[in-house]
């Protein structure tokens, strides 16, 4: 119980700290990101947290041989299987849901607790689903971008989905009173280590917050459509040339 409180206090702390951070509150995408002011503050908080997390992730990346790191990646991915299974069923993808059970059984046993992804080699493909994606396929397509403390980019829909999924996720259960904090933190470090390559790009960006948002939203769309999103309408980009409205930034600096 005490540990559970500490997470809640961390979240509250993040909001308090966010209040202090002097980030600019702009409106770069009012349609998808009406909470940009708040989101930028949480982004600044996460960025601060990353000052501690990143060095650990770098060290982990350095000392862990690639095959071992891949093994840990497989291990955590395997633990997502129950959530993926439930959401495949909710989306009516029954063949895929059976394949996911098969994967979970094979990898958890012969694959030594998921360390080795034998199932993929045996023709049982990997699927990735969660409640946020299920809600999207059910018609809840557009949701406000929401920067979560600690967890990073999300939407209101996906954040809610994540909370529900975590009730029965083997690692996520830690947020609801399970005591396996070590595993939860380790997963966080392992996940962070996978994004180290992108750090330079993000830092050099004109607006790192917007870059992270763009990349996340587009990639999320890609997941929701199982890798086959509709082609976007490039003509909209050209319409800008004929539009008469003045950019908001010039009115309100």
């Amino acid at each position: 119980m005490q540990k559970r409180l500490s997470l809640i206090s961390l979240l509250i702390l993040s909001l308090v700290l966010a209040g202090c951070a002097g980030t600019q509150s702009r409106h770069t995408d009012p349609e998808n990101d009406p909470w940009e002011g708040y989101n930028r503050k949480v982004y600044a908080f996460n960025d601060g947290l990353d000052k501690v997390v990143r060095p650990v992730a770098v060290a982990y990346d350095k000392i862990t041989p690639d095959p071992v790191q891949r093994g840990f990646g497989n291990f955590f991915r395997n633990l997502d299987a129950p959530v993926t299974y439930v959401n495949l069923v909710l989306q009516g993808k029954f063949k895929e849901s059976v394949e996911t059970i098969g994967r979970f059984l094979v990898n958890s046993t012969i694959g030594l607790l998921g360390f080795f992804d034998l199932a993929s080699k045996w023709g049982l493909p990997y699927y990735n689903e969660d409640l946020g994606q299920t809600l999207a396929t059910w018609g809840y397509e557009d949701s406000r971008y929401l920067m979560l403390p600690v967890f990073g980019p999300s939407t209101f829909r996906d954040g809610t989905g994540r909370l529900v999924d975590s009730y029965y996720h083997p690692v996520g259960r830690v947020l609801h009173g399970s005591n396996e904090w070590g595993l939860w933190i380790f997963r966080g470090i392992d996940t962070r280590a996978r994004y180290l390559d992108q750090d330079a790009e993000l830092q050099q960006a004109y607006d790192p917050y917007v870059l992270m948002r763009d990349v996340w939203i587009q990639n999320r769309q890609y997941q929701i459509y199982d890798g086959d999103p509709p082609m976007m309408d490039y003509d909209l980009y050209l319409d800008d040339y004929s539009e008469e409205e003045e950019p908001a930034t010039e009115v309100d600096p």
Binding site: Y206, G227, Y234, Y237
Partner: protein
């Protein structure tokens, strides 16, 4: 040795533009033939290109650039920020982008071409008159594939690519949302200057 001669013949055909007339010029075939030829060339002449990166940049410029419509990409990226700009400025911006792209692509080739394989997926459905997407997979040496798509549009000079989409992330969209506010804040000249400088940094 035979292979070398064959490759030489392929490059010869390419540079003289003969192939363009004899071969199907639908987007899928274009991506297949051009990336195939470039990768083969780089793998074959790896040592020479490592010693002389300019030669590789020249190859990319000659073989890959005709496939791209950088001017169109530049217009999409500049969007509203390009309104009221003189055509020369947009061209200048497109040139800077091209230089950066050539430089990066050449670097990437040296790094990856011996390890990764490109698998171009067949065209799906009917070929749209104006716009289409070519889907491909970059196959990593240690397993795993990265999905890379190319957006093509039909121009009077044939099909040209203007966007690259990696795991759903569009280069044009992402770049545009960085460049538009930067141009608004700092002006197009400063942005072009920064791009040209970045090219120098990358070249070092």
């Amino acid at each position: 040795m035979k292979l070398r001669i064959l490759l030489f013949a392929i490059t010869l055909v390419f540079s003289s533009g003969l192939l363009a007339q004899t071969q199907a010029d639908d987007p899928v075939s274009l991506v297949e033939s051009i990336t195939g030829a470039i990768f083969a060339d780089v793998t074959e002449n790896m040592e020479e290109y490592t010693a002389n990166p300019e030669a590789l940049e020249a190859l990319v410029r000659r073989d890959l650039m005709p496939l791209l419509d950088i001017n169109y990409s530049a217009r999409l990226i500049l969007g509203r920020a390009g309104r009221g700009l003189k055509q020369e400025k947009i061209d200048e911006f497109a040139t800077s982008m091209t230089d950066l792209l050539v430089n990066r692509y050449a670097k990437g080739l040296l790094y990856f071409s011996s390890e990764v394989k490109i698998r171009v997926l067949p065209q799906r459905g009917e070929l749209n008159e104006k716009l289409t997407r070519v889907r491909s997979r970059v196959v990593m040496p240690k397993g795993g594939e990265a999905p890379v798509d190319y957006a093509f549009h039909n121009t009077p000079d044939g099909w040209k690519a203007f966007d690259v989409i990696v795991e759903g992330i569009s280069y044009v969209t992402t770049y545009r949302n960085q460049i538009m506010p930067e141009v608004k804040a700092n002006g197009i000249d400063n942005v072009i200057e920064r791009l040209n400088k970045g090219q120098l940094e990358l070249a070092e």
